[in-house]
């Protein structure tokens, strides 16, 4: 029942919000639907902790430690983002950047987007997962182009085409997976695409087909995850959409894509009994980390800057999953959590900063601490957190990843460290003048409601110092599930 | 025996205080002779100092207390230094509380106070003198320390009387390291005491003066103390030289009152010779440009280091 609520609430929300349109209660309804989703996700998590893995709807959906924590995370960030979007979009509407009709689209698509992500996370059917991923792309394409500016249209177009093509590769990968599975599981019924069934027989799957399938899947979902060199759409899409959408794209969608890759990796490695899928992931990861760190130095747009930082962090996560093993998987899951919390917090703060300054250009944003201390400190602390400075949680996961890398792949450590150093200097050099420094702008009469930012940063801070035992238990179980290494 | 040691200690300090102006006068006399001038009386230094003590002190309006304290501090450090250096006997009760390194530190303290006092009034000459003094000092001090260090390495102690004793009891061989350091020490002595070729105590030429530039604003008793301190410094340096390079003749550990008695004339003789030698050096060498002073001192430092290397 709780599961149906998790999936159903946002779907119902999407429909209801189409009906509500630009009514003034629409933002509140948006928050309420997100709240119900979050509550249902919490209940579901408790349920799963209590009874273990669950399946629903003829095994089409299932919940295990790996996806339940992502479901909870998605619901949480979905809730806080909706909270953030309420005042933010109101100001945008006041500035006449969005029309009421567009606002209707925005709210409805927002819920739909959350729904697709939740489906992608909870589905047991690899085909359905693909469908949900594609639906996630489609529901956000029009959100990216919400402002109808040339830049946003261009970004939306690239997002659509590149992700569409990418995801088509994933479909072919899924087909190949099906071909291989069919031989083992038989084509009767639909069990041949159910992950739980595939996982059970993964050692019998034909390795050569599976390896080709994995390449297609990796390229496909990797495009969505923004792994270099498939990342090209990401900076544009994240920079040009409305900030709440940037926050969920960066904070959640990338996670879901990585999740899909990891699910596939588990199957393929089981079949292959060789490490090259891991090596591929590590290669993508390293390339992303290095490339994004250097690209950061060229950024003049605040959201683009953090979009590249997302690429970097996806690289770190991919690298960690590639290394495999309990510690690295644990760290990667932790990193997914803290990254999505921190990055969405940063986007919230950055969105407000850009809104106050009337521009997303880094050169135009100055002296935030003076204009609005909460925005300034939110951006500063968020940036420091994402740069991996303790005591924030990002450091905890990076610490684990680095130490594991030292053990298993010493050659990669200097590369990672170099990239961290470069990224640090790059981001910090841009954030500091935005937050500090002189400004001609007046101090704002009211400080923006940035509770979500500080809630996120608070959780991240806590995770850096103390990981609650049940959470650790959860991560461990998920890490075991992924295995590898 | 202990009382003898205490007596030696008091005697040394008293002798230093009494003989320093004399030594100063002796050097001046020798120099005058060598330069075919009519020499001032041997006791001229005493007379000058006495005269100064009787005069009214004139102090610049904007002088701070530091300016008035400095002469006493400088004088006191020199006197304390005299108590450490084994000029007549090596069993000095006080010397265990300050070794050769502390001695160098003591000289540095005096120099710093001197320089600070010179800067206090804010005259062009004062700061110029202070700067030059510190320039000379920062090279002379390590050179002196290296000299002491070489001696310490040879005798494996930093206590000056102990060094002196050990060097005196060694066979009379010319250790090359000591030879180098002796040269270095002589150069440091010249520089630290405002002697030609670094400074000329007899001139007030602004282009070249160092020590005198710092004294310009002092008068009367303060100047007297400064002059006395300068004389004491020269005396102390001479005694350090004796302790390190010609330690023979001082009353060593085993010696009783007789040895001490013998040490007094021997010290006098050493001083006489050293004063004459100093005068000779000053006469035969020309004053260097101020900018050449670092080269001179760097050479001294180098010699000391060479002494360390050949040890």
């Amino acid at each position: 029942m709780d599961f149906l609520f998790v999936i159903g609430t946002p779907l119902a929300g999407a429909l209801a919000l189409i009906w509500l349109g630009a009514h003034r209660v629409a933002p509140v309804a948006n928050v309420l639907f997100s709240l119900v989703t979050f509550a249902a996700a919490c209940v579901l998590s408790v349920h799963v902790i209590a009874v273990g893995n669950l399946t629903f709807l003829h095994e089409q959906f299932f919940i295990d430690p790996l996806n339940v924590f992502l479901v909870a995370l998605t619901a949480l960030v979905g809730l806080t983002t909706s909270l953030f979007s309420r005042p933010y979009m109101r100001i945008e509407a006041e500035h006449r950047r969005v029309t009421p009709a567009r606002l209707r689209l925005y709210h409805s698509m927002y819920q739909l987007f959350i729904a697709t992500m939740l489906v992608a996370l909870t589905t047991n059917n690899m085909g359905l997962m693909w469908v949900a991923m594609e639906a996630a792309t489609l529901s956000t394409v029009l959100l990216v182009t919400l402002y109808q500016t040339p830049a946003s249209l261009e970004a939306g177009w690239k997002y659509f085409i590149l992700c569409g093509v990418g995801i088509a590769q994933a479909l072919f990968g899924t087909i190949l997976l099906y071909i291989a599975a069919e031989k083992v599981l038989g084509s009767q019924g639909v069990s041949a695409l159910l992950w739980t069934h595939l996982d059970a027989v993964r050692h019998q799957l034909e390795p050569r087909v599976l390896s080709i399938a994995f390449v297609f899947l990796l390229v496909g979902y990797g495009t969505k995850a923004g792994l270099v060199p498939l990342h090209s759409w990401l900076p544009d899409a994240h920079a040009e959409g409305p900030t709440p959408i940037s926050a969920v794209l960066s904070g959640l969608l990338l996670n879901v894509a990585i999740y899909a890759v990891v699910r596939c990796k588990v199957l393929v490695e089981g079949s292959l009994r060789s490490a090259w899928p891991s090596e591929m992931l590590m290669g993508f990861g390293l390339l992303s980390v290095v490339f994004a760190s250097f690209c950061i130095w060229r950024q003049r747009d605040i959201k683009r800057l953090f979009a590249y930082s997302s690429i970097e962090h996806m690289g770190i996560i991919a690298f960690a999953f590639g290394m495999g093993g309990p510690v690295a998987n644990f760290a990667a899951l932790l990193h997914m959590t803290v990254h999505s919390l921190t990055k969405s917090a940063i986007f919230f703060a950055a969105g407000h900063a850009a809104q106050k300054s009337g521009s997303q250009s880094i050169d135009k944003i100055r002296g935030l601490v003076t204009i609005s201390p909460t925005v300034g400190w939110g951006l500063m602390l968020g940036s420091l957190a994402i740069l991996g400075l303790p005591p924030f949680g990002v450091f905890a996961s990076e610490f684990l990843i680095l130490t594991t890398a030292m053990r298993d792949h010493p050659w990669a450590t200097p590369i990672l460290l170099l990239a961290f150093g470069v990224a640090f200097a790059g981001i910090f050099a841009r954030v500091q003048p935005m937050v500090f420094g002189d400004t001609t702008a007046k101090r704002l009469p009211h400080s923006p409601a940035l509770i979500p930012v500080f809630v996120h940063l608070g959780i991240v801070l806590m995770l850096g110092l103390f990981i609650p035992p049940y959470l650790a238990h959860w991560y461990r179980a998920a890490a075991r599930l992924i295995g590898g290494g | 025996m202990r009382s003898l040691h205490w007596f030696t200690q008091v005697l040394e300090v008293a002798a230093a205080l009494a003989a320093a102006p004399l030594f100063h006068g002796w050097v001046n006399q020798c120099r005058a002779w060598l330069q075919n001038r009519s020499a001032p009386p041997l006791l001229q230094t005493y007379r000058g100092i006495r005269k100064l003590f009787y005069k009214d002190a004139v102090i610049a309006e904007r002088a701070s207390p530091l300016f008035r304290i400095a002469p006493y501090v400088v004088f006191a450090t020199m006197l304390t230094a005299a108590a450490i250096i084994p000029s007549m006997g090596t069993r000095l009760p006080f010397s265990s509380s300050a070794d050769a390194i502390a001695l160098v530190g003591l000289f540095a303290t005096a120099r710093v106070f001197l320089a600070l006092a010179a800067m206090d009034i804010g005259t062009a000459f004062g700061t110029l003198g202070a700067r030059r003094e510190m320039m000379v000092g920062f090279l002379a001090e390590p050179a002196l320390l290296m000299v002491v260090f070489v001696a310490s390495l040879i005798s494996m102690t930093t206590s000056l009387p102990a060094i002196s004793e050990r060097l005196a009891t060694q066979a009379l061989t010319l250790s090359p390291s000591l030879a180098f350091t002796a040269v270095a020490f002589t150069m440091v002595l010249l520089a630290e005491n405002g002697r030609i070729p670094i400074d000329n105590p007899a001139t007030h030429l602004e282009l070249t003066m160092i020590h005198e530039a710092m004294m310009l604003e002092y008068s009367a008793r303060h100047l007297a103390l400064m002059e006395l301190a300068a004389a004491l410094k020269l005396f102390n340096y001479a005694c350090i030289g004796f302790a390190l390079f010609i330690p023979w003749g001082t009353a060593m550990g085993g010696g009783g009152p007789g040895a001490l008695l013998a040490a007094v004339p021997i010290l006098g003789a050493k001083l006489a010779v050293a004063g004459a030698a100093l005068a000779v050096i000053e006469t035969v060498s020309a004053k260097l440009r101020v900018f050449r002073a670092p080269e001179f001192l760097a050479t001294a430092f180098l010699f000391a280091v060479l002494g360390l290397l050949v040890h």
Partner: protein, 222 residues
């Protein structure tokens, strides 16, 4: 070597036609013709699906064929034609790589695709050795088409052609995917087309053209 049954030979022929059409699309510069070729490709795909359905008797495949016919032969081409008329984009400018060069690359891709398909065909349900290879080739050729085009419209047609390749691959190797998936995929394609339609109008409104060169402003400073 056992003689290949007639139905299979027919299927092979249809597959070959798909490939041929892909090449034709690669070489075609006129957008209207491109859409026609796409519709033709859809028809061939539909025929192949029907053939396979008839041979295997799978009802799934009949539904697939119907979907293909409705979507790719009738709805989408008409939609595209209408868009072309409304937007007035009949021609693509010169492709980024000249046609012979493109063909050469396309040929290499086909070789690569066939090599790639070998282990898959070994596992495939149907006896058509070349079908999977052709599916891969169609996908990659569509990829190439998208790369070499300068108009948004042609790129979309390339994209749809890629979808055709995927469909053919799924069908020829496994008699189609599970129904849930297939319906989902079809829905996605349809929605994608709707989104695209909206897109085109938005783009044209903003840029007065559907030239992709207008869409190259978001980039890093060198």
């Amino acid at each position: 070597m056992t003689p290949v049954p007639f139905v299979m030979q027919l299927l092979n022929a249809l597959a070959a036609m798909l490939l041929l059409l892909s090449f034709a699309m690669l070489a075609q510069r006129r957008v209207v013709t491109l859409v026609d070729l796409f519709a033709l490709q859809g028809a061939v795909l539909c025929a192949a699906t029907l053939l396979l359905a008839w041979r295997t008797g799978e009802t799934n495949l009949y539904i697939s064929a119907a979907l293909t016919l409705a979507l790719k032969v009738i709805v989408l081409p008409r939609l595209l034609h209408r868009l072309i008329r409304r937007l007035g984009v009949y021609w693509d400018t010169d492709p980024l790589l000249n046609i012979p060069g493109t063909m050469l690359v396309g040929l290499m891709i086909v070789v690569f695709a066939f090599g790639l398909a070998q282990p898959i065909s070994a596992l495939a349900s149907t006896a058509t050795r070349s079908a999977v290879g052709i599916a891969v080739a169609v996908i990659l050729l569509a990829f190439l088409t998208m790369i070499t085009r300068r108009k948004a419209m042609s790129q979309v047609v390339g994209f749809l052609s890629m979808e055709n390749g995927l469909f053919f691959g799924a069908m020829s190797a496994t008699y189609g995917m599970p129904m849930v998936v297939e319906l989902g995929v079809a829905l996605d394609v349809l929605v994608a087309m709707l989104v695209l339609g909206v897109f085109f109008f938005q783009i044209r409104e903003q840029f007065d053209s559907l030239d992709l060169e207008e869409l190259e402003a978001r980039k890093e400073e060198r």
